[in-house]
C-alpha cells in the first residue's frame, strides 16, 4: 500500500484538529484545545479499488504560514489549508499563505477548505465564497461531519493519480 504525508494547516482555531478527529476517530468535541507543535496519525482510505495510507500531520495554527517550521511541511504530498468561514480574519491572508505553500511544495496537491459551515446560512456562505480571492475547493463541518469524508476521498484520489 502506498503511504503519503498530508498536512493540515491554517490559522488558529479554524478546526484543523476537529477535522483530524472527525476523519480519524469520527468524533467531535466543542472544547477548544490548542495544538502544541504537531500531532501525527494515520488512516487508510479506500479510493475506488485502491487503498492509500494517509499519514496526517495536524500542525499548530499560525497567523501566517511562514511562521510554521519549514521541516513540518517537507515531504508532504498533500496540503489541506483550512479556514473558518465564520471568521474573516482566518482567510484575510489566504492568497499570501497559498503562494508561500505553493512555492515551498510545488508538486503537492492543495485543497482549500472552508470549515464550520454549520455556523452560516447559505446566503452568508455564498457571500464569503464570493469574497475569497481564490476558489474554495470544499466547504465542511467537522461538527456535523458534512463533507469531511468527501474531502479526504477527493484528496486521496488526486494523490493516487499522481503516485
Amino acid at each position: 500500500m502506498i503511504s503519503k504525508k498530508v498536512i493540515l494547516t491554517g490559522n488558529f482555531g479554524v478546526g484543523k484538529t476537529s477535522l483530524f478527529n472527525r476523519f480519524v476517530y469520527d468524533r467531535f468535541s466543542d472544547k477548544y484545545l490548542t495544538t502544541i507543535g504537531v500531532k501525527v496519525n494515520k488512516k487508510v482510505i479506500g479510493v475506488d479499488d485502491e487503498e492509500l495510507s494517509v499519514l496526517l500531520w495536524d500542525i499548530a495554527g499560525e497567523v501566517s504560514q511562514d511562521k510554521v517550521p519549514i521541516s513540518y511541511f517537507l515531504g508532504a504530498a498533500g496540503i489541506i489549508y483550512v479556514f473558518d468561514m465564520s471568521r474573516p480574519l482566518t482567510f484575510k491572508e489566504i492568497k499570501k499563505d497559498l503562494d508561500y505553500l505553493t512555492e515551498l511544495l510545488p508538486d503537492s496537491v492543495i485543497k482549500i477548505v472552508g470549515n464550520k459551515k454549520d455556523l452560516l446560512t447559505q446566503e452568508e456562505m455564498n457571500h464569503v465564497l464570493a469574497e475569497l480571492p481564490m476558489e474554495c475547493n470544499i466547504t465542511t463541518s467537522a461538527k456535523t461531519g458534512e463533507n469531511v469524508e468527501e474531502l479526504f476521498s477527493q484528496l486521496g484520489r488526486l494523490l493516487l493519480e499522481r503516485a
Binding site: 503511504s3 504525508k5 501525527v40 500531520w57
Partner: protein
Amino acid sequence: MTTEKSPQNLGNEPNKNEDLMLSMIREILLKEDREDIADIKAHFDDNEKLAERINPIIEIHVESMKRKFPREYQKQVERIVERKIKASQDELLDVVYPVMGKMVRKYVNHQFLSLKEGLDDRLGQLFSFKGWYNRIKAMVMGVDESEILLRDLDHTSIEEVFIIQRDSGLLMGHFSRNETIDRDVIAGMLTAIKSFVEDAFSKERQELELIDYGTYKIFIQSFHLYYISVILDGSISSAEKDALSAKLLDFAEKEMPNTLANDVSPSDYETLSMQLSKYF
C-alpha cells in the same frame, strides 16, 4: 552487290566515326584512372585490406588525442563534472555520508582507545584486583561504585529498528522483536519530535541523537535523506553507542539504495525490513 546510300545515311557516317574515335581516346586516357579506381574500390570492399591501411593512421590520431586531451578539453570536462555534481548533490551526499561517518568514527575511536589503553596501563600498575579497579573507576567517574557493578550486570537489547524518510516521516523499513501498535504513526511522530527539537534549538549541523523514555532509549542515526532509529531496552554506554552507530553506518553503506524515491513502494519496504532483521 552495292548498297545505295541515302542522303540521311551519308550524314550519320562521320558522326559514328567520331563517336568511335572519342570512345577509343577516352579508353586510352582513362584506362589508368579506371584501374586505380577499381583498385581503391577493392581495398574499400575488403575489410582486412582497409584496416591494414587505416589502423596505423587511427593509432597515430588516438595517441595524439591522448597527448592533447588534457590540454584541449580539460576546461570542458571540468565544467561538465561540476554541473553533474551540482545536479546530483543529494545522491552524492548519500553515497559519501556513510563512508565519511565511518572514517571520522574510526579516527575518534582510535584516539579514545589509545587514551583508554594509556589509562588502563597506569591503573594496572597501581591495582591488581577488579574491586579496587571499580572503586577507582567510580571515583574517577564521580558515580557510586554500586552503579558501576549494576551497569556490568545490565543487558541492553535492541527492541525495534525503524528506517524513516527524513522529510516526510514515512516508514521505509522496520524490524521488531514484538508487535508494535502502529509503526507508521511512531515513525511520523518521531520525525515530528526530531524536527521540532532541531528547529527549536536551530543549532547548525546539530541533530537529535538520543531520546530517553523510562527504561527505553531511542537512538537516532541521521543520514542525508533518511534516518535510522533504534529502540533499546536498558542503558547504553558511550562504547556501545559507538558500536551501534558503526553498525548502522555499515548497514547504510551496504544495504541502503543510493537514490530514494518520494514514495515508499511495498517491495522496497519488504526488502529493507528483511535486511534489517538479518542485521539485528
